[in-house]
């Protein structure tokens, strides 16, 4: 059964003012546990507004958000409990670090959940391990860390709540390649080990192609496409029109095909490309 569902989800900013803007327009999607969903779309397409509905940070203008079959706004006073189950990592989350030490900052969520000190400590340790945060950093002030370290501490703070759904809004923006890899590896591992759903917003087609099961393409507040990686990235022309792109390696093989060199479809990662070319060349030896 779907774990997160939106029904006719609509959100209007500044309703009945001159600045009125429909940010989400009748969005209907559902996401299962254990899925990795990549969300892409141009700036202002509604990606961030959408993900902020998943944990009840924004209340829909109309329509519903269901988590585990229950309308999260049925009992508005209990909305906090939804935030423990659906963990949201904002864009540039490191700006929200505030506590004296990283240990305390990561433990902030679990403490709000009313867990015992022992349980909090255990969860902080586990989250820090997942993000490869060494012990000496845990004792430091978050303000003494580098940008990449701060980002990992901020993500650990959400993981420490052990959410059933992990939502990350552009988690790799501004990180160096090593930092990007750490975050991408984390997403895959968290899904594997906990069977949680992971939803991440990204402008990197390469990242989405490499780990997503399905891709949600937003355009002007509407769902433009919501399908598997092959079914989305095969629509090159449409993505270009939307100001998006396809992974560089996919483009390489698409252009080769235009030149009459057909190595087969479905090349979204470097691994796919190497494999396809190896098969093509072996085939040639056998037949030639």
């Amino acid at each position: 059964m779907a774990f997160i569902t939106t029904e006719q989800l609509t959100y209007i900013y500044g309703q009945s003012t001159p600045y009125e803007k429909t940010a989400l327009d009748h969005v209907n999607i559902s996401i299962e546990k254990g899925e990795i969903i990549g969300i892409m779309g141009h700036t202002g397409s509604g990606k961030s507004t959408l993900v902020q509905h998943f944990n009840g940070l924004i209340r829909p203008t109309s329509g519903r958000v269901l988590v585990d079959g229950v309308d999260i706004w049925e009992r508005p006073k209990e909305i906090r409990s939804v935030r423990f189950r659906v963990g949201l990592v904002f864009q540039y989350p490191e700006y929200q670090l505030f506590d004296e030490t990283c240990q305390k900052d990561i433990g902030y969520g679990p403490r709000n959940m009313g867990l015992s000190e022992q349980e909090i400590e255990e969860r902080v340790r586990e989250a820090a391990e997942r993000l490869e945060i060494p012990n000496e950093i845990l004792q430091k002030s978050p303000f003494d860390l580098s940008g990449g370290e701060k980002r990992r501490v901020a993500i650990a703070g959400v993981l420490a709540m052990r959410p059933d759904v992990l939502v990350l809004d552009e988690p790799t923006a501004g990180l160096d390649p090593q930092g990007r890899k750490t975050v991408m590896d984390l997403i895959e591992r968290y899904r594997c080990e906990t069977r949680a759903a992971v939803i991440f917003v990204s402008h990197s087609m390469e990242h989405i192609a490499s780990i997503a099961d399905r891709v949600l393409v937003m355009n002007q507040g509407k769902v433009e496409l919501f399908d598997t990686v092959p079914n989305v990235f095969s629509q090159y022309a449409r993505l270009k029109e939307l100001g998006l792109n396809i992974p560089a390696v996919t483009e390489i093989f698409l252009r080769l095909k235009e030149q009459g060199i057909d190595v087969g479809k479905g090349i979204y990662t470097v691994d796919d490309g190497v494999k396809a070319l190896s098969q093509l060349c072996q085939g040639r030896v056998h037949h030639g």
Binding site: G41, H42, T43, G44, S141, D144, S146, G147, G148, A173, G174, L175, D176, P177, Q178, G179, R180, K181, H203, M205, E206, G243, L244, N245, P247, A248, V249, E251, I252, R255, L256, Q259, I261, V270, G273, V274, L277, S278, L280, C281, R284
Partner: protein, 284 residues
Amino acid sequence: METILSLQHVNYSYEDDNGELIPVLKDFSLEIQRGSFVCVLGHNGSGKSTLAKLLNGLYQPDQDSGPILVDGLNTRDEKNELEVRRRVGLVFQNPDNQLVTTVVEEEIAFGPENLGLPRDELQKRVDEALLAVDMQEYRNHATYKLSGGQKQRIAIAGILAMRPQILILDEPTAMLDPKGREEVLSAVRRLNREQGMTVILITHHMEEAAKTDRVIVMKNGQITADSTPQAVFSQPQLIRDAGLSLPQPTELTHRLIQEGFPIDKEVLTVEQAVAAISKMLKEK
């Protein structure tokens, strides 16, 4: 070619909360030629942004440091301060933090207005700057309504209106979508090619580095590579050691070489990869 920026044995360190000196740049030397398009790569904390801020005098090097010369002006000399800032324009990551007014035209005029220029000169500079970033139609638009790529181009235009000699961009595309990123990069490339603007691009995106003249790799405050993009990216080990990655087309050809394919290793772009693979398959 003429040297426009020069750092000779520069040291820079800062004091942390415990009063300890943390070195960022150590014995750092670099020369940059007028009209070149240089890319600086490096892991988070490698000293890239410190370098940018030293170059326009926002930061001052340590007491024991060698000189930093901008167009012949020593940045340490107090009387050069304003002139150095005017000659070296700095564009940062977040466009929202850089815009100060509400209308595009006013935004671009903000800097030169403070120079006390006559009205027609001001107008001329605004026109030229808008044209340079291809934003003429947006002259009277509200800045807050623009897309990220448009905002970033307005930030660049605001710098251009000050007529700088050198444009330094510190991760200008980190917050942009693919279209916005391409808009900004093509505007910068055009400035370099058509107006001979010296450009230093600091980035974490390897494919952006692939399209520059010279790539400088920084690691822990030192330069570990300084060459053409072809030469730098043909050394995967060096790139990995610096905490970086290869552009995807380059990664593909390197992997193919490892698998024993006879393919050209100096591939950086999609176009070059297509040509190299089709050449390899024809020769087989």
